[in-house]
Amino acid sequence: MDCLLADVISSPHAACQLSMRQWDLLIRQARRVDMLARLYAKLVDADLLESIPSQPLRHLRWSYILTKRHRQSVILEVEELASTLSSLQVPLVVLKGAAYNCAKLSPADGRIFSDIDILLPKSLLPTAESLLLRKGWLSECKDSYDQKYYRKWMHELPPMRHTKRLTELDVHHAILPETAIVSPSSRRILSRIVAIEGMPNVYRLCNEDLILHSATHLFFDGEMTHALRDLEDVNSLLSAYCETDEDWERLLSRGLELELTYPLYYALYYCSTFFGAVIPEPVLKKSLGLTKMSRRHQLFMRFVFDRGLLPDHASCASRGSALARWLLYVRSHYLKMPFHLLIPHLAYKSVVLPIKKRMNESNPPKTKTLAQLLAEKNTQVQ
């Protein structure tokens, strides 16, 4: 792989040898995938700040200042959510960034997560939604089709945003849509959650599930703009939780149990190619075996991920990059929905929605009051 950023992330000492030209490129690549602050954290860990030229260093520091602040506000938001949802009397499970931040796990340092994700049992979603609405969390989707789409097919409520603090919240009932080609059992995931110290009733996924979820999110997603950053999350979780043969064994068998062998294999493979993660050869082999992919399928995947995982920056572009990104985008839809659902959905998005938008622009709809929204919500709940 040919990416300066990946090289420096995997061996931070290389940063001491860079010319200003290389620093210029490194900062550009890191900014493109939102890894400036992460790079700063790596350099702090390796005690290298003293040997970094001040001009590029300040970009890393600026970004790190932002993440520090972000971290505080995520923890406050989660505490607030825990109290808002306490009457549900179930554990509040935080996912991804919110979990890393609250539990102070390794991927959190120098990392911004744009939204807060929580996981609740499906049956409680309507109640949770009205509790949240009362505390100022409003749905982001104004379009009735989108509302229906999320509620019927997706693994989460339509995204919500807090009216005052503008934080984004995704309330999940599963880690993949029910229409996806695999659907890991939420019951199984919820049966092994771990309490987060110092935050009453707030939980995270167990170690193996953290890794699997992070990998799933990356390798099922079409939005690959920050793929390298997301891969580094997995890498950092792997190095924290997988040391002994038993650890690896547990990870592989959990992958099989949750039907996530395929994202697991690619996460392991690419963590070792991009970041030099030390993954025992038998583990990698076994993990590939579990996916039951044909050789041709593997070659195709390698073609798209070799390119799609690199920063979307001119310096990392190679022949086929644009095609690979497009294929990944198409593939992510196909993975989430079978064709007989996908085609009408895309048709709506590309034809009906633009017309609707155009019409709304010429006569904008009246804004609704909070009371009206509450009334609507109550009828939906019933």
Binding site: D2, L4, S19, M20, R21, Q22, W23, D24, L25, I27, R28, R31, R32, P53, Q55, P56, R58, H59, R61, W62, S63, I65, L66, R69, Q72, D312, H313, A314, S315, C316, A317, S318
Partner: protein
């Protein structure tokens, strides 16, 4: 300012960067920042060159920001042409009509500064300096801040910044302002006002019908550009308001209210958290704070010049 060719030499990456994205670029440096500007339209670069002719080139191989102002391709080349601002491929704004490249560049640079430079408290304010003492003019858009700033600059005050004040703490615990020294953005009637106020003022091209009305940029005086590495201490915080026909009145403003006003005009106070508050607090503590109502630039300049005779009391 220097012209250069992309790409950087090939040794940095074994793979050749995509040449077509960056046909040619300008290298410029203002205040603490260096910027490389590229565009697929030579007309756009020419416009920017007009505004930035006096600025030094960046001597380092490292640029703080690589921005581009590209005309949209495809059907938009002929039908209602559009332009995009991007920071290294990231587009923070929606496209603007094709003839607004210059305002877009300036707004884009403001965005770069206020969203990245978190070593400073970035305040929405014009800043000028005379005899080592800094006057900060902070106000919401449309209050006449830039016009006043341009007027003062035409009468010998040094331009530090027209739009963004970079506030930081010096080693002795006093607040200082770092110059940016970029052109002053003037709107609508202000253009005529400043043109007739000073025959020496130089302007870039006028852009008509932008979201902020007709916009043009007054070039920064050569002296301000040359001294853009000189920081200076904050002495006055003034909240100006243009009121037609009104007498020019400078009335003292309470420190608590001034702090709240300035907080409202800060871009990254929430990002800096405690440090931001300390900077804000010290800014107000060491400065004399005023509300300022004005209609005549001549009176305004006289008033602020007279402040220079009052000894600096704010410093501890």
């Amino acid at each position: 300012m220097r012209e250069m060719r992309y790409p950087y030499d090939r040794s940095i990456s074994q793979r050749e960067p995509n040449l077509h994205a960056f046909p040619s670029a300008l290298s410029l440096k203002f205040g603490p920042l260096s910027v490389s500007v590229s565009s697929n339209s030579s007309k756009t670069l020419d416009c920017i060159r007009q505004l930035y002719a006096d600025y030094p080139e960046n001597e380092s191989d490292f640029f703080d920001f690589h921005v581009s102002i590209d005309s949209a391709q495809g059907i938009r080349r002929w039908y209602k042409p559009q332009i995009n601002f991007s920071l290294d491929g990231f587009k923070p704004f929606k496209p603007l009509p094709g003839d607004q490249a210059l305002p877009l560049f300036e707004w884009g640079m403001n965005w770069c500064v206020s969203n990245h430079c978190h070593d400073y408290l970035v305040v929405h304010a014009a800043v000028v300096e005379k005899q080592g003492r800094v006057l900060m003019l902070s106000a919401p858009p449309g209050a006449g801040k830039s016009t006043l700033c341009a007027g003062l600059v035409c009468r010998g005050w040094r331009l530090l910044s027209d739009e963004l004040a970079l506030v930081s703490m010096s080693d002795d615990g006093l607040v200082q302002v770092t110059p940016l020294g970029r052109p002053v953005c003037l709107k609508n009637q202000s253009l005529g006002v400043i043109r007739s106020f000073s025959q020496d003022s130089r302007f870039g091209p006028v852009c008509y019908d932008t979201v902020k009305g007709d916009v043009a940029h007054m070039l920064a005086p050569k002296e301000s550009i040359d001294r853009s590495q000189e920081l200076a201490q904050l002495s006055w915080v003034v909240f100006p308001r243009y009121a037609p026909q009104a007498k020019s009145v400078l009335s003292p403003q309470g420190k608590a209210q001034s702090l709240l006003n300035l907080a409202k005009q800060s871009f990254n106070l929430n990002v800096l958290g405690e440090m931001g508050y300390r900077l804000l607090n010290q800014s107000i503590t060491q400065s004399d704070c005023y509300d300022f109502q004005y209609s005549s630039l001549d009176d305004a300049v006289k008033l602020f010049d007279s402040l220079l005779h009052v000894p600096d009391t704010g410093k501890n």
